[in-house]
Amino acid sequence: MTALGTIDGTNLNGGQKLAVKYFCVAAILFGAQIAFGLLAGLQYLIPDFLYEVLDFSINRMVHINAMVVWMLFGFIGSAYWLMEEESGIPVVGLKLGNLVFWIFTAAVAVVVAVYLLVQIGPGEHSTLWLITEGREYIEAPRWADIGIVVCLLVFFFNAAATFNKGKWTGIGGVLVLDLIALFGIYLAGMFYTTNISVDQYWWWWVIHLWVEATWEVLVGVLMAYGLMTVLGARRKIVETWLYIEVALMFGSGILGLGHHYFWIGTPEYWLSIGGFFSALEPVPLVAMVVHAVFDSGVHKMRSSNHPAMAWLIAHAFGNFFGAGVWGFMHTLPQINLYTHGTQWSASHGHLAFFGAYATINIAFFYIAMQKWRGNVWMSGDLVGGWKWKWSMVLLNLGMVGMTMGLLVAGYEQSQIERAIEGSTWAGYFAAQAHPWFQQGMFWRMIFGGMFAAGYVLLVLDLLTIGRHETRPAQNVSAGG
């Protein structure tokens, strides 16, 4: 054993060694997401910037794809992280899991290289198979889709076989069942059809049922484990909460899918079903806030890992505001008729993905760093503790600023382009040229820069936190 405070793989179990590999790639892709977001944001202000070199379409595609993949890598890593502790045995088929990690990472690199260098192809099926599928969020070409399914199946095998051979906990059970849904749903996005209404119907099965159902349940699992690890919360409490959250999340989220079926050609009954169930979607998010904040209070804010705890709380509030409040604001069809397809959606997308998913992944990065350095002290009076606090402030403030800039632009667009000008192209450009829109985009850029600075500091902090620390982690497991 090396000294406390040194990064050493022997501090980790097998699953955790694989987890930190996933976390490293996730953190790098997070950086790529931000970089391409900045480029795309700049093109709103300087339209000729990189014209016909790296057009907005390419930057935006890499921006959102890097996001999906880094969050997925973070989730997979987090699942491997908790697998052995939860099941009580080493990961079954870990070698295969390791192999798949390298294949998955190489495939992502090839897909991104093709996005950047080849970009588009002729209007033929070969383009969809080899270059891009051209469907937002799931642009990855078909060969990559098949690769993703194979990789996820191996990951699923690791999880299911490990819990099955060891012991099933509530966390393990929900995780494995959720993974089945995750894979099954991805298949719905893997075919081509001429009919755009049918295309978008199934496309939303992937996008919505991932992001607003299975991913939300997955972060419920991570939150439960996180609270036990960081606060020493009792299993019985967090697992009961987890079941409540699953009931509320799937109960509202599965039929909440209907809020994407207002305007794509689907029947009118979706206006009522989608409006009603999506209005309920914030309920589980409120429950999560109550759960996390109440538990912290019960434990008098005494945690073994302050940065992780802070990011778990940020997750609870970010999920509630970003996904819950910002989603609810424009989910009823009576308002969505005007806001659908405006910067309003971009505002919601930014705050929701960050609040719900980036935050909890960052919490797990901190949990991992702590153990990787031999379960080092990460509570109060941390050496260099300003770094995690400042990166957290910059990231959160940067995100809120971007969200607000986009929201102002979205309000203006709904009003001028949609309500007044009647949604013509002339109306669209009248709204895009309006000073309120331009100011929104300008401030989005400024706060995007702040967010990027927060990211740099976050990476720096993750690499150095606990380095000169000699105290072992604060023990929180006692009591309840």
Binding site: I58, G134, F250
Partner: protein
Amino acid sequence: MTTEIWWASGIFWRKTAIWVTAGSFVVLVFLTFDSMSQITAGTKRVPAYSAINHRIEYRFDEARHVQVPVIGAEEPLFGRKLTEQEAEALVDKGKLTVQAKNCMSCHTLLGNGAYYAPDLTKAWLDPFWGSREMREELMVEFIKDPSDKLHNGLGRRMPRLGITDEEARAVVAFLKWMSTIDTNGFPYNFKPLDQEN
């Protein structure tokens, strides 16, 4: 330990979670079958591809209080009437091109996609094209090489995407067909191109 109250028990909530999830999913599957039957091409809401042989209008419906697409008199695209198979093949080529060129990463289709460029749901009916007679050729030329065409006062331009003449015509067919879909009144309050003269 005290005896557990039912609403605080893990087992109760686990059962609830399973039943709620299964129940919601069954309802979704049922609704999906129904929706599919209503959005297959050739139905009332999503017309057949041969609709591109006709004039498409977007008129206010007094009963529903929104605008709905109306398929009018015969007005074949590029002056040539197509059979159902020919029309489907052409629209299919257009849809493939729309995906292969990643149109959705700047534009929205039926309101979904990116917000850097205008929505294409009613591109066929947009007054931007000036007149009915000019529209088809202007659209084809614009799609093939937009870089030197009039766009807007912002300086924001669509790039050249290497779209061939055949692909451009197919994209126009796809856009014309898409404008026939009943989208429950989205976009609202739209002022279509004057097609009377």
